[in-house]
Subunit: 416 residues, 2 copies
């Protein structure tokens, strides 16, 4: 049971937008046991769409198409699907009524014939109700293959996937279970880990795959297993996961939560009833942004002093001019004074401070580009570490952000 996703739109192929729809659809399909064979992004061009439909029909059982269902001339998906199925468009009264209602309720301009044409659907199509927009989803079958066409607007597509597509597929197909289990490791590169796992990897059964997902300073190891007997599959993954951990026990720090690191930090802080603040130089607010991406962060996140300018470090965080003169602004001593500064100023239990040089130029420090000091203050301790994230700029900023969160998380886990 596998699927192909086809996203239609020139805006994807000229790089004007990033296609986020495919990842959402792929994840949702995986959850119900449907593997995605391929994702294909094609132009708003009839011949190209026809070709991709034909190829997808050869590759997959389920073909999910997004985009090109709008009311304008560059939206040709519906007409092209009609041609592919040798079908004709007919008016769907329920869709027409829905469009007219949406116009009455939310839209100030009068309804036009162009809008009404969105109620035209291929005569062979099963219409899928789009609560959030005027273009309906459409489902057609051919040689036992299912084609589903959805609008490209993300929230309309998401509504249709959750409310219409997944229930349909769950009912129609007997699907296997797909289990993913992702182990987090810190402190060893992927090649060093691969060295350890070399022989074990070769013993993995056919229905299980191991993947390495390296990131700055950490490697995620993902086991993916597929099978029809859920109980047996779970037992199999549990056994393999234990074996895997035995090879990496010194660097294994946990499983990828369904949760991100910032969510985990949030949970731990809420549990302990503690607060945190950040003082950020080279990360420029990136750590605060990540912490506050979690709903409910106001319970434990007090705020941040983004101190890009040296003056803010001295005048507000109380970093001493002498410390800066003696050690330079990128130094362990300055990071510590920043952490203590924001901790006192904002009256928090924990504080994160980061100072470094993200480049591309050295500016007013003696330290190399890429050098970053991270300090985490607790009520009775302070931990400061030096890193070299190299270049380019975004790698330094991202690397420092992830490391700072990681150190805080480890402190929170230890103090449990």
């Amino acid at each position: 049971m596998n699927a192909e996703i086809i996203t239609i739109g020139d805006e994807i192929l000229i790089g004007q937008i990033v296609d986020t729809n495919s990842a959402f659809i792929a994840k949702e399909l995986n959850r119900i046991g449907v593997s995605v064979y391929q994702i294909t992004s094609v132009q708003d061009d009839k011949e190209h769409i026809l070709k991709s439909l034909k190829e997808a029909e050869e590759n997959a059982d389920i073909i999910i198409i997004t985009g090109g269902l709008g009311p304008t001339k560059d939206d040709i998906t519906k007409y092209t699907i009609c041609q592919y199925f040798k079908d004709e468009l007919v008016q769907n009264d329920a869709v027409l009524e829905h469009i007219e209602n949406l116009f009455k309720k939310y839209i100030t301009t009068p309804i036009s014939n162009i809008n009404r044409q969105q109620a035209l659907v291929p005569s062979k199509a099963l219409v899928l109700h789009n609560s959030f927009g005027t273009a309906p989803g459409m489902l057609l079958t051919k040689n036992n293959k299912v084609f589903i066409s959805l609008p490209g607007v993300p929230y309309e597509m998401k509504g249709l996937i959750s409310n219409e597509v997944l229930p349909f597929l769950q009912k129609k197909y007997n699907r296997p279970y797909i289990l993913h289990r992702t182990l987090l490791t810190y402190g060893l590169g992927e090649s060093a880990i691969a060295n350890r796992l070399d022989e074990w990897e070769d013993t993995l059964p056919n229905n299980v795959k191991l993947a390495y997902l390296p990131n700055l300073g950490n490697v995620r190891l993902r086991l993916t297993a597929k099978g029809f007997d859920k109980k047996m599959l779970k037992a199999e993954v549990l056994k393999l996961e234990k074996e895997l951990i035995s090879y990496v026990s010194d660097i294994f720090v946990g499983f990828e939560e369904e949760d991100s690191i910032e969510t985990l930090i949030g949970k731990l802080l809420v549990e302990k009833n503690k607060t945190v603040a950040t003082a950020e130089s080279c990360t420029g607010g990136s750590i605060a942004k990540q912490i506050t991406s979690v709903a409910g962060a106001s319970k434990y996140f007090i705020g941040s002093v983004v101190c890009y300018n040296k003056r803010i470090k001295t005048d507000f965080l109380g970093v001493s001019e002498n410390t800066i003169k003696k050690y330079s602004v990128v130094s362990a001593a300055v990071a510590e004074e920043m952490a203590r500064g924001v901790q006192q100023l904002y009256k928090t239990d924990y504080a994160i401070a980061v100072t470094g040089n993200a480049g591309p130029t050295k500016d007013d420090t003696d330290k190399s580009i890429g050098i970053v000091f991270i300090s985490i203050a607790t009520t009775d301790n302070i931990i400061t570490k030096e890193f070299n994230f190299g270049q380019p700029r975004e790698k330094v900023i991202e690397g420092a952000t992830m490391k700072a969160l990681e150190i805080l998380k480890n402190i929170l886990l230890k103090n449990t």
Copy 2:
């Protein structure tokens, strides 16, 4: 002259990551006159990769492949390319030296044979230097088609595209010019605009395409033109753009910039020799992060007060308790006091302040979820606007960040 992008990796097809590489590559190729015919994401599977290479060779002149170049067993791109080209791997001494240097400089674990194997490249390949990582780029040709394999790590891929791939393609091919011009309109739906443009659209020449890109409350109209004579093409687009504006003059608000908004803001502030700071509540540092993503931001960005907790608003930014009591913490009055507060505290020419409710719960405000107030203070004026970004949380944070930057940009452009 067209290209196909192939991204390799199971993590894309299970929806674990969003493929952002393709959009970057597509945009860069377009800039130098190379159209992207198709983007294909495939599994870490030899047969699947071989099939996609064959199909891409039929579709395109240039095939750009990312991913699967790491040192572990799930990284099979290099071996598969070797098979496709009936080639063998040979050691490249320059790459080996580069890998050994990277290990000496940045990596604490000793170098292993697996790492050294990254210096193995197909004997027919032109090696492209990867400054930021151990896996080199590789370029091979077959029947006058160019295949370029790049690592999937975004900053490594970006460095290779900019420093190696684009210069190579620019030198090798006589490329047409591709001009995009995107008009921004506010206040009318896409179907209402399409109604107006109906007849004019049919008169567009063959080398010009019009696309509608609807978003909440605004529609972008993109003209794309292709041709070899740059001067004539520019004149043609200018003429059509004027015609187009004449149909939408009441809703036309400007052009989409080529530069990112934060780069443009940086340029304008440097030109004027002015500084800026931010006071951020619901955006949690996201605006500061975006401003400081630009190299050289320290010239004009002083810092930010991320004031997630009410206490920080009153104690540090000087927002009055009375104002909060009277208008609630999510209000125009509080946004203005925050802007003036950080402007005085950090002694800047401009200040951005944001207060709002990103949801998903209402917390301690009377305002609905999604409501955000943005204030921009200049030396002699303050502009405050209210928005409703709806839900979910990430849409509110992103929407407020983009709007705040857009308002500042417009102020900077007007004051020129």
